[in-house]
């Protein structure tokens, strides 16, 4: 008999226009000591399954059909009290974001002891013993002292360990981990995944690992359930799913994941999600508006040069002074980008890679150092009108497709704004037609121009964002984590689009990301950053094949391996 047995589970959310079926007739089982990965893109309903099992469906969601059984006993219809006695005691849960999962006002000790004592009734003293042991178990050094601390005194990774400890408090039989590592850096992610795996084996508990990250699945799960729009499209062993996917969606999914072990020039068959064929716009640069403007550069020449760049942020201080804190975000960074190439900057959060982008675009002013773009000193104030216009050739595609578009402007206006502001089009109507062309160029329907951003998905928004960048007729395009907020299939489309545009428009790209496999697919040359410094830079493949710096090496080792051809 399976530890967890889900049969024909259907979860529904009544919404304004009828009923939304989040989970549609899903059946699956979890055995003790087994890790079942549930993978899928946003809106696939993977998290909903976990919440349904826990009885924590956010209102107005409800289980509309099917059964959930824990070791044979049905738990989908239990009353609140019974369900509560189950939570934590028999089913533990791990949330995505460790920063917000802990009560900031209670010490770790209190939160652990409360949970332990609540379930095991062992008394405070005993509970504290166990608490400390748990912390040690999840790999927190100096547990007896650290237990007295508050959550904010722990780093993200450490917090996630505490969260796991809390989930394990009452020695549950089943653990549901909902994107447990998504909020963490690669290096931490690896450690947490190892921890989860180990605990699973040692304690012989069953686990549902919900994630969108195929790499994580490949590394951790025994079996994989692939979800698409609430339906379970394929269920099988990890090797099989990744090696020989059967369902077309799975195939698309797999093919969309950037392989960590080799470079492919293009992602194939990423159109499962799309309905119909997008408008293919071919623009003749010799005749089109997009074509004119300042003359192009000969490829291979250095287009952007950054010399011993420094940036120090000061925070605090006010009208009456007060102590200001300093943060040296960028330390003595130098590199150059050749015309026509794609230069990558990779690094973990807080490594300063995004700051560099904002220094180049002039959103931040450098503390010291020089930035030259086609000879213009970007670190100084522009002197002439032409120089200002030349600087517009540096444009940017942002990370968050939701905050990077002004929600109160129509898409058409968003794209046309640069044209109007810079007066590069003869008339407003002309600007509007150009905007339409650009939208078509990024494969959006013609009526998109009239809609507001909220009408679009993340991927489409990213396309709009690109179109807006193009509206300034850029030569140099900075892509700051352009796909980290997107699902893999969408990511593949965007990456393809970028490659196409680069070829078509002869763009030079500065590609910033934390995602090594993606970097491998995109970049000709890569710089690795840590704590604001560039530790290593060399040809794209070289970084992966022959990493020089120890930090680079550890990154390469720790990144989740996703190698379909090896399976």
């Amino acid at each position: 008999m399976a530890l967890l047995d889900i049969e024909n589970l259907t979860v529904e959310y009544p919404v304004r226009h009828g009923i939304f079926t989040a989970v549609d007739d899903v059946s699956l089982t979890v055995e003790r000591g087994e890790i079942l990965g549930i993978v899928g893109e946003s809106g696939a309903g993977k998290s909903t399954i976990g919440n349904a099992v826990m009885g924590l469906l956010s209102s107005p969601g409800r289980i509309a059909g099917g059964t959930v059984s824990l070791e044979g006993d049905r738990i989908d219809a239990l009353n609140a009290a019974k369900m509560r006695s189950l939570r934590g005691k028999r089913i533990g849960m791990i949330f995505q974001d460790p920063m917000t999962s802990l009560n900031p006002l209670e010490t770790i000790e209190n939160q652990l002891i409360e949970t332990i004592d609540h379930h095991l009734h062992v008394g405070t003293a005993e509970a504290k013993e166990r608490a400390i042991r748990l912390l040690e178990q999840v790999g927190i050094a100096d547990a007896p002292n650290r237990i007295k601390q508050y959550p904010h005194e722990f780093s993200g990774g450490m917090r996630q360990r505490v969260v796991i400890a809390l989930a394990l408090c009452a020695e549950p039989d089943l653990i549901i981990a909902d994107e447990p590592t998504t909020a963490l850096d690669v290096s931490i992610q690896a450690q947490i995944l190892d921890l989860i795996k180990r605990l699973c084996r040692e304690e012989n508990v069953g686990m549902i690992l919900v994630t969108h990250d195929m790499g994580v699945i490949a590394e951790t799960a025994d079996r994989v359930a692939v979800m698409y729009r609430g339906k379970l499209v394929e269920l099988g062993d990890t090797a099989q799913i990744i090696g020989q996917p059967q369902h077309p969606y799975t195939k698309v999914l797999i093919s969309a994941v950037p392989p960590s072990n080799k470079r492919i020039d293009r992602f194939t068959r990423v159109d499962y999600a799309q309905s119909g064929t997008p408008p293919k716009a071919d623009i003749d640069l010799n005749t089109h508006w997009l074509g004119d403007g300042p003359a192009r550069q000969i490829d291979g020449q250095a287009m952007l040069t950054v010399a011993s760049l420094n940036k120090v942020f000061r925070s605090g201080g006010g009208l009456f002074g007060g102590k200001a804190q300093e943060n040296h975000a960028v330390k003595d960074v130098s590199f150059h980008v050749k015309a026509g190439e794609t230069f990558g900057i990779v690094g973990e959060s807080g490594s300063g890679k995004s700051t560099i982008a904002r220094l180049i675009t002039g959103i931040h002013k450098p503390t010291s150092g020089e930035i030259h773009f086609n000879g213009d000193p970007l670190h100084e104030k522009p002197k002439t009108g032409e120089e200002i216009l030349r600087r517009r050739q540096v444009q940017m595609v942002f990370q968050d497709p939701y905050s990077s578009l002004n929600a109160r402007m129509r898409v058409g206006d968003i794209v046309a704004e640069p044209i109007r502001v810079n007066g590069t089009a003869p008339s407003t109507s002309a600007a509007r037609t150009i905007a339409a062309d650009l939208l078509a160029l990024v494969e959006l329907d013609a009526d998109a121009a009239l809609k507001y951003p909220h009408a679009f998905s993340g991927g489409q928004r990213q396309r709009i964002s690109i179109a807006r960048a193009l509206a300034s007729r850029p030569r140099f395009l900075i892509c700051d984590e352009p796909t980290s907020a997107l699902d893999v299939s969408i990511q593949a489309q965007i990456l393809n689009l970028l490659k196409d545009l680069q070829a078509k428009l002869d763009l030079t790209l500065l590609f910033i990301s934390h995602d090594l496999p993606v970097m491998r697919q995109m970049c000709d040359r890569i710089a690795v950053m840590r704590y604001g410094e560039i530790v290593e830079q060399s040809g794209g493949e070289a970084i992966f094949t022959a990493p020089q710096h120890s930090y680079t090496r550890s990154l390469i080792d720790l990144m989740p391996k996703f190698e379909p051809d090896r399976m």
Binding site: L319, I388, R392, N406, R408, M409, R468
Partner: protein, 304 residues
């Protein structure tokens, strides 16, 4: 599709249709506001025209003929023989005008200062916020009284009658701009960090254009909610000031002045002189408050 159609199919309108509270309070507010605006057409008498008053009509009971003149008034008359119903309509006009104008004043002042603080930052920000502190370290009602005192003092003697209302507006507005400034500053700070602002900078938008064209539209929800709630507050503040004797002149009474006059007769049997204006004030403020409350829930902006 037309804007109207867009609005009718919007979630906003959908939620509105499903909220009896919203519908009722909106209707009540509208009826009151319209009847105030069109008071001259609706009101049977013109209480602001002294010539039309007959003192002997004073203290007529509602719906009963006056013992001397035999005239009958729906809601009775006050001590001056003014038809209470008409006076309420005209009074509500003044209350609303004062309320709306002072909120508008506070809004313009607060929003611009708030935006300025958020965009400029540094010393400018610090100074503006200190200013707000000073303002806050002093109860609104006292501020209003102070300003009223000063303004009444510095306005040329022969202009006072006309000035009274404007002085009222400014004094209420001045005591109210801070919360606009604070909220706008707060939200603007948040918006300013968003990437669409960086994009705007990148394409060469100046700070003012960014503040007005990009940030402002995105924080309009908070402003709207505060404005609604402040409207109710302003109307009440006007009443309180009138009660303290620094409100609208008795010859052109606002609801507040009417209540102030009426409360003198609460125990002498002429209850209607107090209760009808008070009821109107309650209906007005309450419906506006309920609307604001509903807006807050629907638009759910982050008010500090």
């Amino acid at each position: 599709m037309t804007r109207m159609h867009a609005f009718l199919s919007s979630d906003f309108f959908w939620k509105f249709k499903r909220s009896p509270v919203a519908i009722v309070s909106f209707t009540v507010a509208m009826i009151l506001i319209l009847s105030a605006v069109f008071a001259p057409l609706i009101a049977p008498h013109d209480p602001f025209n002294p010539g039309s008053l007959n003192l002997m009509n004073g203290f007529s009971k509602p719906m009963e003929p006056n013992q001397f003149t035999g005239d009958t008034f729906w809601l009775g008359t006050d001590d001056q023989g003014r038809d209470v119903f008409s006076t309420i309509l005209y009074g509500m006009r003044i209350s609303l005008f004062v309320g709306v104008a002072s909120v508008a004043f506070a809004l313009v002042l607060g929003v611009s200062l708030g935006l300025l603080a958020a965009m400029a930052g540094g010393r400018t920000d610090a100074i503006i916020m200190r200013l707000a502190d000073i303002q806050l370290s002093f109860p609104a009602i006292l501020i209003a009284m102070l300003v009223f005192g000063i303004a009444k003092g510095i306005t040329p003697v022969h202009l006072r009658e006309e000035m009274a209302i404007w002085v009222l507006i400014i004094s209420i507005g001045l005591s109210d701009w801070v919360q606009f400034a604070r909220v706008v500053r707060g939200s603007a700070m948040v918006e300013r960090q968003k990437e669409y602002v960086e994009a705007a900078i990148l394409i060469g938008r100046g700070p003012i254009a960014i503040a007005v064209r990009h940030i402002l539209p995105n924080i309009v929800a908070s402003v709207l909610v505060i404005a609604t709630i402040s409207l109710a507050l302003a109307i009440i503040a006007e009443a309180t000031l009138s009660f303290l004797g620094v409100g609208a002149p008795p010859t052109q009474p606002s609801l507040g002045t009417l209540i102030r006059i009426g409360q003198g007769y609460l125990f002498s049997g002429e209850w209607w002189i107090l209760f009808f204006p008070a009821g109107t004030l309650l209906a007005l403020a309450l419906s506006v408050n309920l609307l604001g409350d509903w807006l807050r829930n629907v638009l759910n902006p982050k008010l500090d």
